[in-house]
Amino acid sequence: MKIGVFVCHCGSNIEATVDTATVAKIALTYPDVVFSEDTMYTCSEPGQENIVQAIKKHGLDGVVVASCSPRMHEPTFRRTVERAGLNRYMFEMANIREHVSWIGRDREANTNKAAELVRLAVEKLRRNAPLYAKQFDVTKRVLVIGGGVAGIQAALDAAESGIGVVMVERESTIGGKMAKLDKTFPTIDCSSCVLAPKMVDVAQNPNITLYAHSEVESISGFVGNFTVKIRKRATYVDWDKCTGCGTCTEKCPTKNVPDAFNEDISTCRAINIPFPQAIPKKATINPDYCRKIKEGKCGVCAKVCPTGAIVYDMVDEIVEEKVGAIIAATGYDLVDWTVYKEYGGGTYPDVITSLQYERMMSASGPTAGHIHRPSDGMEPKNIVFIQCVGSRDCSIGRPYCSGFCCMYTAKQAIMTKDHLPDAEAFVFYMDIRAPGKMYDEFTRRAQEEYGVQYIRGRVSAIQPTVRPDGRVGYIVRGADTLLGESVEVDADMVVLAVGVEGSKGAGNLAEKLRISYDHYGFFMESHVKLRPVETNTAGVYLAGVCQGPKDIPASVAQGSAAAAKVMALFSKPKLENDPQVSVVDIKRCVACGKCIQVCPYQAIEEVEIRGQKKAHVIETVCQGCGVCTATCPQGAIQVAHFTDNQLLAEVNALCLS
């Protein structure tokens, strides 16, 4: 084997505290090293060209570059050696900048250490083998989990480019949280006016297969070849027959069902269509309340249904879909704010969440847009908005800012003044966060134009009192840090701007997708700054609040971004896998099954070869972590590029001097 060593000055970054010439000279004494030199900027264009020439001139089989971190320039130099005709894995780097020159001033020690790190790289390189990526074909369909605005955008963009889309939505209609909103900031345009057309597009786009009222049961396979099992939860209404006429929803005798779409501030019937613009506009029976299903009595809806669509004994159905990529757009849920006992912990009827207030203000809501107090229906005079309920609060484990509450609270305050001109709106806040275009101007408008009183301080307690006229009032006690006083507002209604967290069940969906997630249920992106919509699992992308708090424009942008990533993935006819995966030596394998047990990706299966059971690695699923190699007692399975022998060579080079 003939190895070339290139020791980089990196300008002065390395040369300042490492004698690169000496390192190059020492490198020549190492086994199989036939050429070594120190260069000013190895990663520069001339630097790389110099390597290519040296490979050709000396007939080198492998190259070691001693310079910066492989996390920085390993891909660069791999392409260089590939340009010179070598396999890109016949290359090793010694990190003599971040790990040597930058962290010590003792030149002699640094030079000696650099020489040793080059020796490690040489010893590993001498045991490297050329590796070749494998090709495999791709199912050009994408699974979008979640029908909120991010999911809708991703689905529409993907369908637009000709990719088949399978959308799975847990609720009986798509639209997610945005469908519940009355108006959106900063333009106060009607939420359903902008959303409904997109929802219709989803329904009508031939490329999109929509599974509403369904959940992902299991995911197996790998990028390009996922097999997804979808559980179509029983709706007890045959959606093919149902026309959405709504007759059944009027006749159903059970009226006390809490209306989940309206955030439980009103009740609906046991058979229900969430809201007029619902897509699909189909009825669904809630089995926990339907008398027919529970006690076998009633059956009114079946009688009145013009198309006979009611099926009381319907059961869940499992459907299988083959897709090549997955976009998770599962959105968010509000934090359980009832832990705040000082705000009544959910026992005070007139202390409601912002989403409930939004439903109250919405024309399609239970109060047809009129603001009435839930307790006694009175039009409230003083309304207090409290920001950061369950956000920026370590004591309940939600230290982060939820991002868009300041903006929608300003909008709700403005809408309150619209609906009730003589009402007073107070907003208790810590810091107003209005970072978008026209955002701060919007909050400024709320204060100046609509006279919303912003009080900078936390609310310490909401205490119900009985007013002289016998009505219940709420003393909202807080501080006004700007005036340095404590403040009391005698409020009729309190709206809490409740923080957001990952939607319920996000955790076990993450486990099915084999992506990691944090304590708050948000999915972990591959890199917080540079790869926000990708995950560490190939073929799985994120869009919207499921990745972290963000407002609608950002969610839509991420929806398009995720779709773009999928389009890029499907643009190539075949996919290539990372060749740094495990390989089984079938002569040594005794099929003890330990590797199969520990593989975090279930990438190893048991196969039969000539009557004997052996382990086999699915190259495309294996991510090259090497846990199997550390587990196999007889070393029969070796992860390429980090085999036992390669690592042992480095250990021995250090210890058996």
Binding site: L28, V34, A129, I586, T643
Partner: protein, 459 residues
């Protein structure tokens, strides 16, 4: 008769202590329950109590002549200044043996070296390393006071006071030891040791030897063992049945004074390394594993067949009927599952009918005929009664019809050349010295220790 000398225990240890000044004195030493041969210094020998030195060693003294791991040669390479791809390699061959006294082994151990001499020293190529040590070593053997239950030296033509292979044979008698010089080397060693003449003690010595012989198991009644074992070769079912309980661990081969196989490997790195010869065991699968992954002896049955056949068929075939087993019984005592080579050989031999040409056996069976013609009639030491050795436990045995006891001790036949470096059954491991010459392909590549060709290619 050679002269007999008498030495009290004190004389013996002080004589050994004196020898230790210019010899490497190897003597048995108790370490935990086992006894091993260790080089002893003068002070240690002077202070050792004598019966520690007389214990029988758990492992054989083979280490003295054939160390478990010895450096055949060292190699250093220096890169050429101008053209670093050129290497100038220098080899060193440290083949030097220091004068050694091997004290306290038993007649079967001594005879073991005679068995080893044939493949290592007779024939065209003499093994220089073994030869040098053999030459430099004087073997002082103790006549066995009594046979262990596992001993069967009389089955293989020896007896507890057999002098073959020893330079001095001493027997423990009342009050001390009677030393009998066997060879000039023994005589030379005794220079300056003013031991009293002990010719008057000859009778006591004879009595001890007779008493020892009495404790031997009854002599073997097996005849034509090499031919019959060879005939049994194809009956694989037999070997499978016999090796049901074998763990194929290889302990027997490492304890055996006559197992002679070794493997050669290169250790260290390309620029500075060593070529090592170390014991190998035919009982391990790696012994015959080929590079392709195929293994001619995949299961323990084939391996046991090879071990038994080598000792009782191949070796006698090549070396005039001498067995490659000295009957020390170590493999029986230390076998984790107490597998008994005597039962196995007996079972292998019994039931094999050798009349030429009829029973499908190979008509011409060279080994046995050669053994009959050449066997000089020698005074048979073992008592003549023919009862089959009555196993001490309740193993049902019926008497075999009387067959004249036959000594298989034959004169040295014409020697077949043995190429020492490429030893009979072992294989040299691929020279790992030039790892650079071996690029590790990603899948399906294995170099195991016993692939036959050495791939040390120097560029």
């Amino acid at each position: 008769m050679s002269s007999l000398l008498f030495a009290t225990p004190k004389d013996l240890t002080s004589w050994l202590a004196k020898l230790a000044s210019d010899h490497r004195v190897l003597a048995p030493r108790q370490e935990g329950p086992s006894v091993v041969y260790r080089p002893r210094t003068a002070e240690q020998l002077a202070s050792d109590d004598i019966d520690a030195l007389l214990r029988r060693a758990t492992a054989s003294p083979k280490q003295a002549m054939l160390p478990q791991c010895e450096t055949l040669m060292t190699f250093k390479s220096v890169k050429d200044a101008e053209d670093p791809s050129k290497l100038t390699t220098t080899l060193e061959n440290p083949c030097v043996a220091e004068p050694t006294v091997l004290f306290g082994c038993r007649p079967c151990d001594a005879r073991g070296f005679v068995v080893l001499d044939r493949p290592y020293l007779e024939g065209k190529f003499k093994d220089p390393y073994y030869g040098a040590r053999r030459e430099a070593t004087v073997i002082v053997t103790q006549a066995c006071p009594s046979a262990f239950s596992s001993c069967f030296c009389n089955w293989v033509g020896s007896h507890p006071s057999d002098k073959e292979g020893s330079d001095i044979l001493f027997t423990a008698v009342e009050g001390g030891f009677v030393l009998e010089v066997v060879t000039e080397k023994g005589q030379a060693l005794l220079e300056g040791a003013d031991f009293a003449d002990a010719s008057d003690r000859a009778a006591d010595v004879e009595a001890v030897h007779e008493a020892a012989a009495a404790t031997l198991p009854s002599p073997s009644t097996l005849t034509d063992v090499p031919a019959k074992v060879a005939a049994r070769f194809t009956d694989i079912a037999f070997w499978e049945k016999e090796t049901v309980k074998c763990l194929s661990c290889g302990a027997c081969t490492y304890l055996c004074p006559t197992c002679q196989c070794f493997t050669i490997t290169d250790e260290g790195s390309q620029l500075d390394g060593r070529r090592l010869r170390s014991w190998d065991s035919c009982m391990t699968p790696l012994f015959t594993l080929e590079t392709s992954g195929h293994n001619p002896r995949p299961t323990k049955a084939e391996r046991m067949r090879n071990r038994i056949s080598h000792k009782f068929s191949f070796y006698p075939e090549r070396y005039d009927g001498f067995f490659s087993c000295v009957g020390c019984g170590r493999c029986v005592v230390s076998c984790p599952v107490s597998l008994d080579i005597r039962h196995m050989v007996k079972a292998a031999v019994e039931g094999v009918v050798l009349d030429a040409g009829k029973s499908g056996e190979p008509a011409e069976v060279p080994a046995s005929e050669k053994a009959e013609e050449k066997a000089p009639v020698e005074e048979v030491k073992a008592p003549a009664e023919v009862a089959v050795p009555e196993a001490p436990t309740a193993v049902p045995t019926e008497p075999v019809e009387a067959v004249p006891a036959e000594s298989v001790e034959a004169a040295a036949a014409e020697v077949v050349p043995v190429e020492p470096v490429e030893a009979a059954a072992s294989a040299a491991a691929p020279a790992q010295a030039t790892p650079a010459s071996r690029t590790q392909k990603s899948a399906g590549r294995t170099t195991s220790r016993s692939s036959s060709k050495s791939k040390a290619k120097k560029r």
